[in-house]
Amino acid sequence: MDRRIFMGAAAALGAATVSRAALAGLPEAVQQRSAATQPPLAPTGGVPYNPVVTLNGWTLPWRMNDGWKEFHLVAEPVEREIAPGMVARLWGYNGQSPGPTIECVEGDRVRIFVTNRLPEHTTIHWHGLLLPNGMDGVGGLTQPQIQPGKTFVYEFVMRKSGTFMYHPHADEMVQMAMGMMGAIVVHPKDPSLHRADRDYVFLLAAYDIDPGSFVPRVNTMLEFNLWTWNSRAFPGIDPLVCAVGETLRVRVGNLTMTNHPMHLHGCEMFVTGTDGGWVPPAVRWPEVSVDMPVGAMRAIDVRFDDPGDWAFHCHKSHHTMGPMGHRVPAMMGVDQSDLVERIRRLVPGYMAMGEAGMAEMGEMQMPLPENTLPMMTGEGPFGPLEMGGMFTVVKVRDGLARGDYRDPGWYQHPAGTVAYEWTGPVAEPQRPPGAPPDAGAAHVQVRKPGGHGSHH
């Protein structure tokens, strides 16, 4: 399929078929242009709750209409900045991918208008919600698909609190590969239940955007090159911010096609909720990596005792990389010094890379194909971060004001609390009696720093 034609058609059709007049009287379909984390949307009446913060996203405003909370989602082509220097042409809702978070309270009667500005039909399935079968959003099975230019209405009661998702159930593979998804957070009717001081939500999504191109290859099943949180990749993912001693809740949903062990440094993690409901406290166990199954949501509660900049990432190390050639052979230990000049005669500007490892990729910023993120990048207070994809930092500080989500900058370590280089004398190692002097180093070829003698 020619992706450009595909997208061109999307833009033209979407824009043309929904007239403003046809939408008169409906709640405004609010649009979001920014990929930055937007301030949470505090409730202005009704049951009080601590609003959720959508990481690099936003919450959809609503209006009350005769006892119904009315929302308006518009399915449409969007441009999403994956990270500075890279924009993806996706499909999403209300100007962004993922769509805005729908936030409400247990027992709310909600009416959600869905307008289709895509070139093809769509539906929305309310993943995990208990609702009448005809509201379940499965195209062909529980409703006719929403044709381009049409608006459908979903009406149901939020029967239970928790963390849920919405996504299309019509041409589902394509539409989800194109970025159509959003989170639903339902707060308990009783504000004292399941309280958290800070509440973040994001969805995991994987894209395959060929270096130099803009639109995901929707037919890819496994070999994705962009592993994102809310369609953002490091260094584009904002930090999560919380104070020492606060309860931090991170709600994560997985709409990729593989699992992701979410690993948060510096604390113990408890899964307090799944998309099935709240986990009884008695059966929660502490973890440092919470595995995210495919098509599932988790609410993870943590509390930090120590301030600092704590890494938060998927523990599949290839998922904390930017686009890279998975078939590129390693070059460790391969001396190229005598060949570089010869190769330069054919490929001017050639540089030998990878002789020692790939760390130099994180240090050098070489020109890359258009609209392509580096394989690893980022600069921390102590050096290159060498990361990409599903990586960010939880910034834990003492005495942060409640509701202050601003990035506090890099952590200033108290003196004597950072690992340091040993400069004292190096004594002979203590060996068990009778061990041969070089036991253990027998047949492993190790390339020693600075040496060039590993091949012979």
Partner: protein, 478 residues
């Protein structure tokens, strides 16, 4: 060559005997005047003046001139000049002209019955001597023999001029082929270089443990292949160079320094109609046919011309040619006079003359067709060479730039980068091939036009010295 001999064989035998009056002036020819006339006709057509040294001083002059030409990088025009000065076959042919001229002078002074016999042995295509054996006294036969000798001399002169033109064209083609082969060799060396770097790297990769034997052997096989290609190309380049040496008459190839590159592709070629008209004025076969018709008229005693006729409009030729050049706005014609035929006695003369006229038409029609054919090939070659220069080579360069960016991002490996370099070199090589074909087509067009291109048919060839279009690989600012 062929046109000429054919044309002369077809000469009506009787015509020769009737040339008496017309031959009066030929006795004034001096030694070497015939060569000089030939040389100036050739020079006018190929832009290079032949020399026929017959003593040490003359030979020294030629050697000096050749030495001077060979002292610098040899252009195509210089190569042609060297060839017409010292191509060994041409020297022999010049000798033939000298013999014919001497015989003509001899015939003018002393009628010598033996001389006919010797000529028959050396020129098998001239059959009319036997037909014209005249059992008369020397005085009676003198004018007839003189006429024959004059016509034979003219024929030899045209033949020799034609040989000069042929050698010039061959030399030009050989020069193009030799320069192109050398340039191609340069690119194949780059391919070998890329394959070698790949193979060495693969070997090291395997030694350290990154590559399987299979991966390594593949690179090794590619290198072996690249070396074979390079060897073949070396042989071809050597052969092309030696062919040029033969045409130049140079015995020591070290003396010849060819440019590193073919001349750049000139701007857009001109219109065909111009070329055809130009060819009809320049080609020797057309001129020979017209001269034959005129001689025929004289032989038949036709003197009262009542107008001119375009031979291209005679008979079926007219149908074949109808309209096209006129549509383009070019008047193309080959005109000869027509005569007042008078009574029945000249009915035969009329038929004989129209026969000659038809042959002029045939020659002209063929000449025009040849010009169109070679001009079309020339134009086609130009378009192809331009496509290589303006499209394929830049495309390949851009692809290489993109691959370089991918290499930077560790999206591809150095092996893909080197494979791409080979692809890019292949495109550059293709471009050289297309440029070579253009210059070969141009040389063939010159030949079809009768020696040279009309002024303004194309702009002058640009030497490739400053040209970057095919020479360098990726350029980028780091």
């Amino acid at each position: 060559m062929n046109h000429l001999s054919k044309r002369i064989v077809r000469l009506p035998a009787l015509a020769a005997a009737a040339l008496l009056l017309a031959l009066a002036g030929c006795a004034g020819l001096g030694r070497e005047a015939g060569f000089d006339a030939m040389a100036s006709a050739a020079a006018q057509r190929v832009g290079a003046t032949p020399a026929w040294p017959r003593d040490d001083a003359g030979r020294q002059r030629v050697d000096d001139e050749v030495a001077q030409l060979l002292a610098q990088t040899l252009t195509a025009d210089d190569a042609v000049q060297v060839a017409v000065l010292q191509n060994p076959a041409l020297q022999a042919v010049y000798g033939q002209l000298g013999v014919a001229e001497a015989e003509l002078l001899q015939a003018g002074r002393l009628p010598n019955p033996r001389f006919r016999t010797t000529r028959t042995a050396s020129e098998e295509s001239f059959k009319y001597e036997t037909a014209l054996t005249l059992p008369l006294g020397a005085l009676l036969t003198l004018p007839a023999v003189l006429g024959m000798e004059q016509r034979r001399f003219e024929a030899v002169r045209l033949q020799v001029t034609d040989r000069v033109l042929a050698v010039a064209a061959d030399t030009r083609e050989a020069w193009v082929a030799a320069v192109a082969a050398q340039q191609e060799l340069h690119y194949l060396e780059q391919v070998r270089e890329a394959a070698e770097a790949s193979a060495v790297l693969a070997q090291r990769m395997a030694r350290v443990g990154h590559f399987s034997q299979l991966d390594q052997l593949r690179e090794q096989a590619y290198l072996a292949d690249a070396r074979v290609q390079l060897g073949r190309a070396r042989g071809a380049a050597l052969a092309a160079h030696e062919r040029l040496m033969r045409l130049l008459g140079v015995d020591n190839p070290v003396r010849v320094r060819l440019p590193e590159r073919l001349p750049e592709l000139p701007p857009q070629p001109g219109e065909d109609g111009e070329l055809e008209r130009f060819a009809l004025g320049q080609r020797l076969d057309v001129q020979a046919a017209k001269a034959d018709a005129a001689a025929t008229a004289r032989a038949l005693g036709l003197s009262r011309a009542i107008g001119m006729v375009n031979t291209l409009e005679l008979g079926p030729a007219r149908l074949a040619e109808q309209g096209e050049p006129l549509k383009r706005g070019y008047e193309v014609s080959v005109e000869i006079p027509i005569f007042d035929w008078g009574g029945a006695r000249v009915a035969r003369a009329q038929a004989v003359y129209l026969q000659a006229a038809a042959r002029v038409g045939e020659t002209a029609v063929n000449a025009r067709s040849e010009v169109r054919e070679s001009a079309a090939a020339w134009r086609e070659a130009w378009a192809l060479a331009r496509q290589y220069r303006d499209e394929i080579v830049p495309l390949r360069r851009r692809i290489s730039e993109q691959n370089w960016l991918r290499y930077n991002g560790m999206l591809i490996s150095v092996f893909e980068l080197l494979a791409d370099a080979r692809e890019q070199v292949n495109a550059a090589q293709g471009s050289i091939g297309a440029l070579r074909d253009y210059w070969l087509a141009e040389a063939r067009l010159r030949r079809a036009l009768g020696g040279r291109l009309p002024a303004g048919a194309v702009a002058e060839a640009v030497p490739a010295a400053a040209a970057a279009s095919t020479g360098r690989l990726v350029r980028r600012e780091d």
